[in-house]
């Protein structure tokens, strides 16, 4: 399937609507995983499964090495996430994994969360990142906040994302908002 930005926005709109969310409501990726029957296992909850050393490895020593994995079990999908990472990072990582799932990317290209650009299909990575952005901060919300002159900290707090993520979603809309404001002021 050829995914355009418009089509991906439509997917995000449908999925958000299925959770009863309007375009400006904050989004919970854990809730959408539940809606789709995708089990999410934080690493720290797996220490009773005979892998204490592995849990300690990713929670402490090599915490930054890995953020999440979307794992196929036959037709099923589960997500294992590194819950030593910050809450906002976990939310965006999970939204990214959901992006792969919702865009029906083939599994051979999708394994290991947002930092696998070097090894995997770059187009699909960009698509999953785009969809994650639209799930967490839809265009309509970004437009409104740009015109209302919200800074990154305010956007980040309202939508439970990092300020860096907020900047990524807001940049284009801020450019548009400032152009529109400049146009208005020259007319006056």
């Amino acid at each position: 399937m050829r995914w355009t930005q418009a089509l991906m926005r439509e997917v995000a709109r449908e999925e958000r609507a299925a959770l009863g969310l309007g375009p400006r409501d904050p989004f919970d990726p854990y809730l959408l995983c539940k809606e789709h029957g995708i089990a999410v296992y934080p690493v720290s909850t797996l220490d009773d499964q005979g892998c204490v050393a592995a849990v300690a490895h990713f929670l402490n020593g090599r915490s930054r090495a890995w953020s999440a994995a979307l794992v196929p079990l036959g037709s099923a999908r589960i997500i294992i996430e590194n819950d030593s990472h910050s809450w906002v990072r976990r939310r965006s990582t999970l939204a990214h994994e959901l992006g792969h799932h919702l865009l029906e990317h083939t599994f051979s290209d999708v394994v290991m969360a947002e930092d696998h650009t070097r090894q995997f299909d770059n187009t699909q990575e960009k698509q999953a990142t785009f969809l994650a952005g639209e799930l967490l901060i839809p265009l309509e919300a970004a437009e409104r906040m740009a015109f209302d002159d919200w800074d990154n900290a305010r956007v980040a707090a309202a939508y439970e994302v990092s300020e860096q993520f907020a900047q990524m979603q807001m940049y284009g809309q801020r450019v548009r908002a400032s152009r529109a404001t400049a146009k208005l002021s020259t007319r006056r």
């Binding site: 499964q49 490895h57 090599r62």
Partner: protein
């Protein structure tokens, strides 16, 4: 909404997958044709049963009798491929993970898969 409790969800999902692939439909497009939510299709892929209305829409779309998808007690259609055999080459191909990372990730994936299967088995009763 009533759940179609005695449905062999794996067989039904596989039948839908084959039919939609043949017609060139994505899962999302199929959900729209069936007038069900896309999450209904994902939930089935994850071993959760559809509600009776969705089940009827699916068998009708497949043009197959509902009885074709009734579960036979004691029979399991568990045919998952060996998980780590498929994943190990992908993990090892990652340049940002060292040998310990890969080994520990394999442990975590095995543990999560075990938990998932036991949770689904408990759900199926």
């Amino acid at each position: 909404m009533d759940i179609a409790t005695n449905v062999d969800v794996r067989t039904l999902h596989a039948a839908l997958d084959a039919a939609r692939s043949e017609r060139g439909l994505s899962w999302r497009a199929l959900a729209k044709e069936l007038n069900v939510s896309p999450s209904t299709m994902s939930r089935m892929a994850n071993g959760l049963k559809p509600d009776v209305t969705a089940f009827a829409a699916m068998t009708s779309w497949l043009r197959l009798p509902a009885e074709s998808f009734y579960q036979i007690p004691g029979e399991s259609s568990d045919d998952e491929p060996e998980l780590l055999a498929a994943l190990a080459p992908l993990l090892r191909a990652r340049r940002d993970l060292d040998a310990d990372d890969v080994r520990y990730l394999e442990d975590l994936i095995t543990a999560a898969a075990r938990r998932f299967r036991s949770e689904r088995a408990a759900q199926d009763g």
